[in-house]
Amino acid sequence: MITKKIYLYFPKSETEKPIVYQLVKDFDLIVNIFRAKVTPEEEGYLSLEVTGTQENIDRAFTYLNGFDVVIHAGNKGVRWDESRCTQCGACLAHCPTLALYMINRETRAIAFCEENCVECLACIAACPFGACSSTF
C-alpha cells in the first residue's frame, strides 16, 4: 500500500462527474479529502490523499486521464514561498501537523514539508509576510 497526495483541477466541463466515488468503488482507494471546491458550471479543485496498491493507483490515474482533469502529484493546494519567508517562526504554533518546522535550531531556519500539510490554512492567517498562500 502506498499513499499519494494529489491535487486535481477540473475545468467547467467535468465538474458534474462523481470522480471520487469512482476512485473508491472501482479502484479500492482510501480517499482523504483535504479541501474541495467543485460546483456545477464552474471550474473546481480537489486536494486529496489516496492510499492503495501501486497497481490500483496507476489504474486510477489512467482513469482520471480519460477526463479533461489536470492531475498534479504532490501538494499544490498550499504553497510556501521561501523568498517571502523571513524565518521568524510565527507560523510554528499555528501549524498542527509540523509541516512548517524549524529545520535548524542553531540558525533557527524554517522549512516546509509538503507531505505533512493538511491544508488547514492556519499559516496563511498567521504569517505577517504572506509567505504561505492557497491555490484556491
Binding site: 523571513t86 524565518q87 521568524c88 517562526g89 510565527a90 507560523c91 510554528l92 504554533a93 499555528h94 524549524m102 540558525t107 533557527r108 531556519a109 524554517i110 492567517a125 498567521a126 505577517p128 509576510f129 504572506g130
Partner: protein
C-alpha cells in the same frame, strides 16, 4: 586597557580589525578571558530583524511642469502625509490602503499598506502617485497621476522615530476567545505565547547603559549606512533591570535614518497582522566598539541572562493594569515551550533570529573589509528617563 574610536577606525581602515558577532563573542571571551579578549577584539556586531511600526520615509518627487504644491497624495492608494513643502511627502509604515475595510469584518486582513509601499520602493518596483492640490499662483497644477520608482525620486530617506526596542513584552491570551494583536494571533486560554526580540544579538541588550550606542552612532539600516539621529520615542531607561543591568521590559529605543536608495530589499518587508493592521519589518545592525573590558563583558550577554515579562494581551495590556503573569529568559522562550500555571505553552517569535544572525555576519564582513567605520556618538541617550501616561482631562473624561 582603553581603546579609542580613532584607534579602532585606524585598524578597520588597514583591514586589521578583529570583529566578532554578538554570538561568537560569547564563546570567545569564555575561552580567552575578559582582559585578553578586550585587547584582541575591536568590534562586536549586533543586529535585530522584526516589525518596527514606528517607521516611515520622506520622499521628494521633484517638480512637474507646471508646478504643483501637493496637498494630498496617495502612493499605490496608500495616503501619504503632505503637510510639508511642495513635493515632499511622508509615507508611514502603518498607513492603511484607501478603502481598506480595516476591522469592519473582524478580523481584517490588511493585505497592503504603508509598509508594503516602502518594501516595493526599495525593491525598485513601479508605483503610482496620485496627488491633489487647491492650486496657488506659483503652483497652479491641481491634480497629478503618474508612475515612478525609487530612481525617479530626488531623495528617499527612511526616518524611523522608534526602532530597536531594547527588550519587549511576551504576549499571551488568558481570555476564552482568540485575539489578534501586533504580536500575532493569540489563541484562547493561553494556548500559545509570542515574543519579539533578537535576545543576545539585539543591539541595546548588548549595550544596556548606552555606553557606545548614542546620538550620532553609525548603524547598518537594511544594508544602507544609517545613523541614530535621536533617542527613540518612548525611550524609557528607568525600568526594572536584572543584576547584569539588562532591562526586563521595553526600556531604551532608537530613532534611525538612512538612504533608502542604498537598502537591500531582503531587509525591508511589509507586514500584515490579521485583525491588527500593517507594519514594516526592518533589519538593523549596530557595531559596538570594544573600548574597554567592561563594554566587552556586556556584549557577552546570553539569552539565558535576559529576562522578559509575560503580559496578558486580552486584558492587562489593553487596560494598562501593569500586571506581569510571569518572567522567562530568552533561552527558555527560544526552546519553543514554557510552563505557565501548570500548562505547557508553545512559544514563537515575531522577530527573526535567522535574519539578525545574517545581518551580524554582513556587518562583520563590511567592517573587516574596511568599508564601515565607527562613529563616536555626539551625545548619549538619556539614562534617567521615565515614561509619561496620557491623562484624560476635560469633557472627554
Amino acid at each position: 586597557m582603553i581603546k579609542t574610536y580613532a584607534e579602532i577606525n585606524k585598524k578597520i581602515e588597514s583591514g586589521k580589525a578583529v570583529v566578532l558577532t554578538a554570538e561568537e563573542v560569547i564563546d570567545y571571551v569564555d575561552k580567552r578571558g575578559l582582559e585578553a579578549a578586550a585587547k584582541e577584539v575591536d568590534v562586536v556586531t549586533t543586529a535585530t530583524f522584526g516589525p518596527m511600526c514606528s517607521s516611515g520615509c520622506f520622499l521628494n518627487f521633484g517638480h512637474s511642469k507646471p508646478k504643483m504644491r501637493i496637498s494630498e497624495a496617495w502612493i499605490n492608494d496608500v495616503q501619504a502625509y503632505c503637510g510639508i513643502a511642495a513635493v515632499d511627502v511622508y509615507m508611514g509604515a502603518t498607513q492603511l490602503r484607501q478603502n481598506d475595510p480595516a476591522n469592519m469584518y473582524h478580523p481584517g486582513e490588511f493585505r497592503y499598506g504603508g509598509g508594503h509601499v516602502i518594501e516595493d520602493l526599495v525593491a525598485g518596483k513601479k508605483l503610482q502617485l496620485f496627488g491633489l492640490s487647491y492650486g496657488t499662483d506659483d503652483y497652479p497644477r491641481r491634480e497629478i497621476r503618474t508612475l515612478f520608482d525609487i530612481n525617479d525620486l530626488n531623495q528617499a530617506i527612511m526616518v524611523n522615530p522608534r526602532n530597536c526596542y531594547q527588550n519587549y513584552n511576551v504576549a499571551v491570551n488568558a481570555s476564552d476567545k482568540r485575539i489578534y494583536t501586533y504580536l500575532g494571533i493569540l489563541k484562547a486560554r493561553m494556548r500559545n505565547m509570542t515574543y519579539s526580540s533578537a535576545g543576545q544579538l539585539s543591539p541595546l541588550l548588548n549595550d544596556p547603559y548606552y555606553e557606545t550606542i548614542g546620538i550620532g552612532s553609525s548603524i547598518w539600516l537594511a544594508g544602507a549606512r544609517g545613523i541614530v539621529y535621536a533617542q527613540g520615542t518612548q525611550h524609557c531607561s528607568l525600568v526594572e533591570r536584572s543584576e547584569n543591568g539588562v532591562p526586563e521590559e521595553g526600556a531604551g529605543t532608537l530613532a534611525l535614518s538612512a538612504d533608502m536608495k542604498e537598502m537591500l530589499p531582503e531587509f525591508v518587508r511589509g507586514a500584515s497582522f490579521k485583525g491588527y493592521g500593517v507594519s514594516l519589518a526592518l533589519g538593523v545592525g549596530i557595531p559596538i566598539p570594544i573600548l574597554n573590558p567592561e563594554i566587552l563583558r556586556r556584549t557577552t550577554v546570553r539569552d539565558r541572562d535576559i529576562m522578559a515579562c509575560v503580559i496578558d494581551y486580552s486584558s492587562d495590556y489593553p487596560q494598562k493594569t501593569g500586571k506581569v503573569l510571569a518572567r522567562y529568559n530568552y533561552e527558555q522562550l527560544r526552546s519553543g515551550e514554557v510552563e505557565l500555571e501548570g500548562k505547557k505553552i508553545p512559544v514563537t517569535s515575531l522577530s527573526s533570529y535567522n535574519k539578525a544572525l545574517k545581518i551580524c555576519g554582513l556587518l562583520k564582513a563590511e567592517i573587516e573589509e574596511g568599508r564601515f567605520l565607527l562613529s563616536e556618538p555626539s551625545r548619549r541617550l538619556p539614562l534617567e528617563q521615565g515614561m509619561k501616561s496620557l491623562n484624560i482631562i476635560g469633557p472627554g473624561r
